[in-house]
């Protein structure tokens, strides 16, 4: 496993080092990920897998401190190791109170790494502030700032009304490191002098405090509050008790939600940027996740589609600079990272080079194409660029570290199909999975969805000035649009996509916008079978007349299967201009040159009622209703939950979950699961389900003449072979393509056929269409006899051709109890010599193991555990590349990349340069807890 692509699942904390230009994201499963310039990334894992609550970089160092929800602190360092930097956990620490003290006494609520780097201030729930020596993590007890010590400087009448309560914010004076601003949750704010250990100023706030922010020159600070207000306070040397300069409720006068974080950024032109999170009118916009930016008369409330975890502003960090001059705002929302360019007019978003939200609509399938020809690559990029005009062209502002990984060996595309009918094209060549282009198939169909999506529909006079940002939109309006199968021919640029409602589209790449009619055909897969009634969803309605398509892949043929069941297999042959598709009822072949259906074949067993009723659609509708109820829950949930409250709730939730699990276990023991042991039979359900389709030019009828053929494998262990007659190129439009069934093989064990492959006379898999004519592959050997490899879920079997007789087999399930889930031919090159490579089968089993099986002798070469066997969606999402790499989803939003090849390995390798560090030698004497969980 080499690198994780995409957006971390359930992020919980954000940190930024203006010194290193590195950003850190913590997750609820205890992962911590650091990102800098594209290609610079690090990952660590807290041993206990607890939620990361806060992340703080130590100023001017390659170190950071994380606070985890078990109240432990962890010190992480970036260290050089064999030429590259690595993230290592150095030390962990849990604050201990005096014996008998309640846990709240030491429950950390605020962390301040002091700029002099020798101490860490820890605010707690008790109101006490502990001082921790760095890097030893030793509590300096004599420097503890107790709430009593603070209160003795506060007027008594205020003290009586409000005690200190917990420490909400700790901020160091920007100019004078000896002064620390302390904010308590009930509203009291004091300025503490480190040297004299006394309060020099106090500010008697009357509202529950959320956060504090210093102005750059230290003459003022700003506090934000639970009631949606913020207050400016002057700090002058002559007045120990200041009154607020101004208190504002930006979205008043009606009750507003809390402003949980605020920035005050000065600029050269004198108008500050005031940026704050929350504060929306409680009644009408209380469910929004917003961050408002106010600059003079400009004001925008950026409206995020998921909860805002945290955000930071990138501004001039030079101590000598007079102004902040903010350049960008980086927002970590629960489901995506959004960066807003604050320098350009209109504050456009910046296209992130990594951390892409793979799941902005749920991923329904993926397809990988290796080694894309440069021409196609450029055309896809240019089509994508036309879609991305609304993005800022600001260079990526988080640019710390140096990527020292070698350039990616080749251009690889990963295509993901989504539930909303889109296909996304990702640059999967290197460490950064980057969106190149997005294709939507929705325009071909008439849907109930409102064409004028309210994404950017905000009028001038609307208040608050909300602006939707981000791409995360998990709610598909019509699940029938979902993409199920993708096939891209990289030589011709033909693309076939197939979806949930039996739709098959053939698209070609066009560099210009175009308006044209999509040819439409229907494939009745039931043919003459009678008495069936499809109870699933209806087929999609198509648009009449010409449709406007933007530059990129434009559909020109639509085939709709009848009944409109989900398309379960798809194959395209760009040389013969044929596309084959299969559903649970049968399969068909379409000539997309002449736009003619060549044939359909019903594979359905007459007694298989279940397949007819379309139970898959029933699953879908359940999913839809679940989705709706989730939507309701999301709406009703209070958006900004208190930080500490969340901590408490999670532990409660853990407990509840544990209890639930236990109950479940007991219940399970009471009523054990039982499994029926029965041989498969022709009468089983879904035997007609077409699992795989394959085009091959081989010897189907006799050993002297080869011909184009189409192979189909079903769930019931049947393989059909059709002999095709494709007219020569010069008469391609004049004569029809003909097909004739040549063979039908019923595997005795009746297990689902998941792969079909023909090996040529030299035992090499037949090349892809057009591969030979593009001089990228040798012509297949047509002298020696061909062999047919049929992979079922249970075994691998080699047959002779043209007479199909069994030659060789490898049983998997009978011997090991595992079943084939994914299989692909992979070419393994040697990392030592360029002239050796071999083809093997890369196999993923239902237990999550990966096995490499040699061709043509079917010998198991090696086996690795890869995915947890319980991770069904991870196993289902796995795709292999042609050169022995692969991807699988580790969460809805993240792909894990793995490599089986010694030659092709894509993993981050980067350096973060360490600035001059003052004496840190005693560090080495410490017992370094080395539980660095960096993935190997």
């Amino acid at each position: 496993q080499t690198v994780e692509h995409g957006f971390p699942h359930q992020p919980s904390a954000l940190g930024y080092s203006p010194f290193l230009h590195l950003m850190a994201i913590g997750t609820r499963s205890g992962a911590i990920k650091l990102y800098g310039a594209p290609g610079v990334e690090f990952m660590g894992l807290h041993e206990e897998n607890n939620t990361v609550m806060q992340i703080h970089f130590i100023p001017d160092q390659c170190q950071l401190v994380t606070l985890v929800d078990d109240n432990s602190l962890h010190l992480w360092s970036l260290k050089h190791h064999s030429g590259a930097s690595e993230l290592q956990e150095e030390h962990r620490f849990t604050l201990k109170g005096p014996p008998g003290s309640p846990p709240s006494a030491t429950q950390i609520t605020a962390v301040l790494p002091h700029s002099l780097r020798e101490v860490l201030y820890l605010g707690t729930e008790s109101g006490n502030i502990f001082v921790l020596e760095l890097p030893s993590f030793r509590v300096l007890e004599d420097r503890t700032i107790t709430s009593e010590a603070v209160l003795q400087w506060i007027p008594e009448d205020y003290c009586n009304r409000r005690s200190c309560e917990l420490v909400e914010a700790l901020q160091e004076h920007p100019k004078n490191p000896e002064q620390i601003l302390i904010g308590y949750s009930r509203g009291l704010i004091v300025l503490w002098d480190r040297q004299n250990k006394k309060v020099t100023h106090h500010f008697l706030g009357s509202q529950q405090l959320e956060n504090l922010y210093w102005q750059r020159d230290g003459s003022q600070f700003i506090s934000c509050h639970y009631d949606g207000s913020y207050t400016q306070w002057p700090v002058s040397s002559d007045n120990r008790q200041s009154l607020p300069l101004e208190t504002l409720v930006p979205y008043g006068p009606f009750p507003c939600k809390a402003i949980s974080k605020i920035y005050w950024q000065t600029t050269r032109n004198g108008l500050p940027y005031i940026i704050f999170q929350g504060g929306m009118p409680r009644a009408s916009y209380g469910d929004r996740h917003s961050i408002s930016v106010i600059h003079g008369s400009q004001q925008t409330a950026f409206d995020f589609t998921s909860r805002v975890i945290d955000f930071f502003i990138i501004f001039s960090s030079e101590p000598t600079a007079e102004f902040d001059d903010p350049s960008a705002m980086v927002v970590l929302a629960e489901e995506e990272l959004i960066v807003i360019d604050l320098k350009s007019d209109g504050w456009p978003a910046v296209h992130p080079p990594y951390l892409a939200s793979l799941h902005c609509s749920a991923i329904t399938c993926s397809h990988h194409v290796s080694n894309i020809p440069l021409k196609l690559w450029e055309r896809i990029i240019s089509a994508g660029n036309k879609q991305n005009v609304h993005y800022s062209n600001m260079p990526w502002p988080i640019d710390g570290g140096t990527n020292i990984a070698p350039d990616p060996p080749q251009r690889d595309l990963l295509l993901t199909g989504h539930e909303d009918g889109t296909v996304r094209f990702w640059d999967a060549s290197g460490v950064c999975l980057h969106l190149l282009y997005k294709l939507s198939t929705v325009r071909v169909f008439l849907t109930d969805a409102d064409p004028n999506d309210n994404m950017n529909a905000t009028g001038e006079d609307e208040w608050p000035p909300l602006r939707k940002v981000g791409t995360f939109d998990p709610y598909s309006d019509d699940p029938r649009l979902g993409i199920q199968k993708i096939y891209l021919c990289k030589y011709s640029g033909y693309l076939a996509v197939a979806g949930t409602a039996g739709q098959v589209l053939v698209l070609e790449l066009n560099d210009e916008d175009a308006e044209h009619v999509v040819d439409h055909a229907e494939a009745d897969l039931l043919q003459d079978q009678e008495g069936y009634r499809w109870k699933g969803h209806e087929k999609l309605k198509t648009r009449d007349g010409p449709v406007q398509f933007e530059a990129g892949f434009q559909p020109f043929v639509l085939v709709q299967c009848q009944p409109p069941a989900v398309v379960t297999s798809l194959a395209l042959h760009s040389e013969w201009k044929l596309v084959a598709f299969g559903t649970s009822h049968g399969f068909g072949l379409f000539d997309y040159q002449q736009k003619q259906l060549v044939f359909v074949k019903c594979t359905l067993h007459p007694s298989d009622q279940l397949a007819l009723e379309g139970p898959l659609s029933r699953v879908k509708s359940l999913k839809k209703s679940l989705r709706q109820s989730f939507r309701r829950i999301r709406r009703s949930r209070v958006s900004s939950r208190k930080r500490r409250g969340r901590g408490g709730n999670t532990s409660e939730m853990h407990e509840a979950n544990a209890k639930f699990d236990q109950d479940m276990l007991q219940e399970m023991e009471l009523a054990p699961v039982q499994r029926k042991i029965e041989a498969r039979s022709a009468e089983d359900s879904f035997t007609g389900f077409v699992r795989t389709l394959y085009f091959a030019d081989t010897f189907l009828r006799d050993s002297s003449r080869h011909c184009p053929s189409l192979w189909a494998g079903t769930n019931g262990g049947t393989v059909y072979a059709f002999c095709l007659r494709v007219p020569p190129v010069e008469r391609r439009m004049d004569e029809p393509v003909r097909a004739e069934q040549a063979k039908e093989i019923q595997l005795m064990h009746r297990a689902p056929v998941v792969g079909i492959l023909v090996l040529d006379g030299h035992n090499i898999p037949l090349p892809e269409p057009l591969e030979v004519s593009h001089d990228l592959s040798k012509s297949p050997d047509m002298q020696g006899s061909h062999q047919l490899l049929v992979v079922s879920e249970e075994q691998f079997k080699v047959f002779t051709l043209p007479k199909v007789s069994s030659k060789l087999k490898l049983k998997l399930t009978a011997l090991e109890g595992c079943r084939v889930r994914k299989v692909m031919v992979a070419n393994f090159g040697s990392c030592k010599t360029d002239d050796y490579s071999e083809n093997d089968l890369a196999v993923l089993t239902n237990l999550g193991d990966i096995q490499i099986i040699s061709l043509p002798f079917l010998k198991l070469q090696i086996r690795y555990p890869c995915i947890r066997k319980e991770d069904v969606s991870g196993i289902a999402s796995c795709v292999f590349t042609k050169y022995g790499q692969g991807f699988y989803l580790i969460s809805p939003s993240e792909f894990e990349r793995f490599s089986l090849s010694t030659k092709w390995l894509v993993e981050p390798r980067c350096v973060v340069d360490v600035p001059e560090v003052s004496s840190n030698n005693h560090m080495r004497d410490m017992s370094v807890v080395d539980n660095a969980a960096r993935k190997s």
């Binding site: 067993h605 054990p672 499994r675 022709a682 019923q746 005795m748 249970e794 011997l815 109890g817």
Partner: protein, 360 residues
């Protein structure tokens, strides 16, 4: 035929096919146009039939060094002569018991096992611990469903550290009339130890399910029967200990030595299973034709339940008629009533078990 003796040699390790042996026998005795039944005397002195590759191979391998082969005309064969102790001494009680009943009824002509397909067998008795049973179910050519369910459970193992609870796989349900039930060799709560020679320990229920289904055409399950009272008693231990519970010793035996399925020839299985059907040409078969629809109707005749029924009736009759009733029969009957499958493994007498097939 009277007596005619020929002596010839065979390669002990490659005796060849039964068919060839049969032809050879006919040839050297010049009786090529006759149907004969070939039997041999095994090490215990029992007369056992040679009528397929299996028992032919077994017979040859048991020769030391001589193998006595008996040839009888097919129509003169007295089947009751075959079986345990048939050559050395006659068992009086049961045989005489039976004789009256059997003689009264016309002789039912049950052909020898090669004339119909086996449905199940107990194999490898000689290498397995007595507490274990290795059952082979021949699903092939049988119309019946396998018909059983398995579940997770816990099993108690004796280890050097004392008793230990370990997860195990158990038979949870039998489908009435299914193959598994009708063999009478498997029962609910039997612990499954191996599937086709592969230990299930450490495998999940789903894995074991998949393995069983993948091997369903020729399933060999090693179980530890929940009821340990009817274990096969080897000839070395003649006295009927069948009444004793052997549960306490049940788990001592490790299966490690018995990994090899001795009476199981992979080739034989392959030939069965190899039969993927290939249909050439542009035929449009509507459904897969029923293949292997062999003499399935004849199978019902030997299906366990009817067999045990008849046997039970016979025995009950015997008992009522007041003929020699002794303790062992009482025991037998009580066990028969509770579980019909046990009737198939009566220690000695009416039913014999020769390692691959069960014969009456």
């Amino acid at each position: 035929f009277g007596a005619e003796f020929r002596r010839f040699s065979l390669d002990r390790y490659k005796p060849g096919k039964f068919e060839d042996f049969y032809k050879l026998i006919l040839h050297i005795h010049h009786i090529a146009n006759l149907e004969v039944m070939i039997g041999y005397a095994d090490v215990h002195g029992d007369l056992l039939p040679i009528n397929n590759d299996d028992n032919f191979f077994k017979a040859v391998s048991s020769a030391h060094p001589l193998l006595r082969v008996f040839i009888q005309r097919q129509d003169e064969v007295d089947y009751s002569n075959f079986g345990t102790n048939t050559l050395s001494r006659k068992k009086k009680t049961l045989v005489t018991l039976r004789n009256d009943n059997l003689r009264r009824r016309p002789h039912i002509n049950i052909s020898m096992p090669h004339d119909f397909r086996p449905v199940s067998s107990i194999i490898d008795v000689d290498i397995l611990p007595e507490t274990h049973r290795r059952v082979r179910l021949y699903r092939h050519g049988c119309e019946k469903p396998l018909g059983f369910y398995i579940r997770d459970g816990t099993s108690v193992r004796v280890t050097p550290h004392g008793l230990e609870k370990v997860p195990g796989i158990f038979i949870s349900r039998m489908v009435p009339g299914g193959l598994a039930e009708s063999t009478g060799l498997l029962a609910v709560n039997d612990e499954v130890l191996e599937v086709n020679g592969i230990e299930v320990a450490g495998k999940t229920l789903d894995q074991v399910t998949d393995m069983m289904i993948a091997n369903s055409h020729n399933l060999i399950i090693t179980v530890k029967p929940a009821n340990q009272r009817n274990n096969i008693i080897r000839s070395s231990r003649m006295s009927g200990s069948s009444g004793q519970s052997t549960d306490s010793t049940a788990s001592h035996h490790s299966l490690s030595t018995s990994h090899v399925l001795q009476n199981f020839h992979p080739d034989e299985m392959e030939s069965d299973e190899e039969a993927d059907i290939v249909i050439e040409g542009g035929l449009e078969p509507q459904h897969i034709p029923k293949l292997h629809n062999l003499t399935s109707s004849s199978l019902s005749r030997i299906n366990g339940s009817s067999l045990s029924h008849r046997l039970q009736r016979d025995l009950v009759l015997n008992n009522n008629s007041g003929r020699e009733s002794n303790g062992s029969i009482h025991k037998l009957l009580s066990s028969l009533k509770t579980d019909p499958r046990h009737s198939l493994v009566i220690p000695r007498g009416g039913i014999e078990e020769d390692g691959t097939v069960i014969t009456l």
